[in-house]
Each structure stands twice: as structure tokens, then as C-alpha cells.
């Protein structure tokens, strides 16, 4: 048996002229989860996958039938990514539809990424209806090891029982 990977928005999207901008703020919380299984949450278009490694965050989305000029990616504040665009149906003069499963209209999704990314070095490619984005993590976001120094930085050894005092404490 095959499975439907995600549920379309249904009648919501099946109007030719539907213009629908949907901001999915709840995804800010989802971004922190780490599901082993796809969440399969219905209602958000396009479905998005995000993963990372030590240096980059990667994003992919399936957008068959959307053209490059109808697609826009914006990054604000270094970690909010907005993917918006429009999928237009083929122009049809007179047609009788026997099946409508594909969704059309405008879409907009915003994700809050868990780390800052370097907006200047983001790369995005759109091919075969697949969008792939590579977002290098900002050097500021990478963990930095702080060196712990032994004892006091003052010349004399502190008395036993007294801990090191920092200036202005």
C-alpha cells in the first residue's frame, strides 16, 4: 500500500484565484524539535525539510510547477527565513476537471532557524521542481571554547580559603 506523504489543504487551495498568504509562526517551535519520523502535519505548503551539520543548515522544499520568477527567499535578522511564492495553474479556456489533487495559489512560510546564518553566503538552487538552500552558519554562532585559567591572575597567591576575586565584583 502506498501512503500519502502529506495532506493537501484540500478545498482551501483548489480555487484558481485564491490568494492566500499564510504565516506559520508555530514553526518557530517546531524548528527546535528533532523528529526521527516526519511530522506529517497537514496544512502547510510547501512541505519543508531542514537539517544541519557542523558548518551549514540545509533546507529543501518540493515546489513542482512553480517557476523561478514566482519564488522568493528572504532572510531577516540572520535567522528568520521566509519562503514565499506562487503556483499558477495552467491557463485553461474551457476544461472539465475530473480530478483536482494539486494545490495552487500563493504561499508564504517563515521559519526561525536555531542558529544565525551568514546571509551573504546563502546559496539556493531550484531544479526539477526541487528547491535546495544551503545556509552557512555564522561564525558568531559556532560554539567557542572558553579557556579556563587556573587560580588567580594577581601576582600574590591568594590566601587559603579565599577565592579569586574579579575586578568590579
Amino acid at each position: 500500500m502506498s501512503t500519502m506523504r502529506w495532506l493537501p489543504l484540500g478545498q482551501f487551495w483548489n480555487e484558481f484565484d485564491a490568494v492566500d498568504n499564510e504565516m506559520n509562526h508555530w514553526l518557530q517551535h517546531v524548528a527546535l524539535r528533532n523528529p526521527a519520523e516526519p511530522s506529517g502535519v497537514p496544512g502547510a505548503y510547501p512541505p519543508i525539510n531542514v537539517w544541519d551539520d557542523a558548518d551549514n543548515i540545509y533546507l529543501e522544499a518540493e515546489l513542482p510547477g512553480t517557476t523561478l520568477e514566482n519564488l522568493e527567499i528572504t532572510i531577516t535578522d540572520g535567522n528568520r527565513l521566509t519562503l514565499q511564492g506562487q503556483r499558477k495553474p495552467a491557463a485553461m479556456d474551457k476544461a472539465t476537471w475530473h480530478r483536482r489533487e494539486r494545490s495552487f495559489g500563493s504561499f508564504s512560510r517563515t521559519l526561525t532557524l536555531p542558529v544565525l546564518v551568514d546571509s551573504d553566503r546563502v546559496e539556493a538552487h531550484f531544479e526539477l521542481g526541487d528547491l535546495r538552500v544551503k545556509l552557512p552558519k555564522s561564525p558568531k554562532a559556532k560554539p567557542r571554547r572558553v579557556e579556563v585559567k587556573q587560580g588567580s591572575s594577581a601576582k600574590q597567591t591568594p590566601e587559603k580559603g579565599k577565592r579569586h576575586e574579579y575586578a568590579n565584583e
Binding site: V30, N49, W51, P64, G65, L128
Partner: protein, 134 residues
């Protein structure tokens, strides 16, 4: 002029058979979303096949069945996902097509991840405009 939907819908009917899937055991197989439109001279199927290269689409017509299979390269399995809303896998869907379609002239194009299949109607069924001489 439209004929009743139920009569038209019979021209292209979905087929769900286990046999049709015998070859497609490469892992997860998904049913792609499909739109079917009927015009005066032909039917058109629009199939969402994102991520499938033209060489990896197999459209076959056998025993009055139109079978569409799309191969997709699987992703590396060890990704550290932060958000995982869809899986990637092959696509397969089959439809039975009646005599009303000119099966020799079936054609398919793949663009931007959408496969369009043109099914011209058999000549006898094409609607003709009849000029009226006054």
C-alpha cells in the same frame, strides 16, 4: 457543451493493482498528486513529480493501462533533521484508459517537476463545430 461528469470520468480510471507494483520495490513509493482535465479534443493529466529527471520517468501504456513511474535519488540516510515534513521516494500511479482515447498518440512532457500527459481523443469522439449556413 458538457456531457455528464460520470460518463467522462469513465474514460480515465484509476487502477490500483498489486501486480503493477511488483517492479517498484526500491523502497518507499508514493502516489503523486494528479489533476485530470478534459477538453474538446483531448484529456490532459498533470502529475507532480518533483525531483525526477526526465530520464527517470517511465510512462507506459500496456493493456489499456497508463502507468507512470518516477525514480528519485534517495537522500543520505544519516541526516540530522531539524524539521522533517516529507520523505523522498519513487512515484507510481496507474490509470485505465478506455477505447475513447487514441492510444497511439499519447505524449508526455516533463517541466519544472510536472509531467503533462496528453491523451488525444479518438477521432470519432472529437467534438466538431458545425457551421451553420444561414
Amino acid at each position: 457543451m458538457n456531457t455528464p461528469t460520470s460518463e467522462l470520468a469513465g474514460r480515465v480510471k484509476e487502477v490500483r493493482t498489486e501486480n503493477g507494483r511488483a517492479d517498484h520495490t526500491r523502497g518507499i513509493v508514493f502516489e503523486p498528486h494528479v489533476d485530470i482535465a478534459e477538453m474538446d479534443d483531448n484529456l490532459q493529466l498533470y502529475v507532480d513529480l518533483p525531483g525526477v529527471m526526465p530520464d527517470d520517468v517511465d510512462v507506459r501504456f500496456e493493456n489499456r493501462e497508463l502507468r507512470i513511474h518516477g525514480k528519485v535519488t534517495a537522500a543520505a540516510p544519516d541526516r540530522h533533521f531539524l524539521l522533517h515534513e516529507y520523505r523522498v521516494g519513487d512515484y507510481y500511479r496507474a490509470f485505465s484508459v478506455t477505447d475513447d482515447v487514441d492510444t497511439d498518440a499519447i505524449r508526455a512532457d516533463l517541466n519544472e517537476g510536472v509531467l503533462t500527459v496528453h491523451l488525444p481523443k479518438a477521432a470519432s469522439l472529437k467534438q466538431r463545430r458545425i457551421t451553420v449556413n444561414a
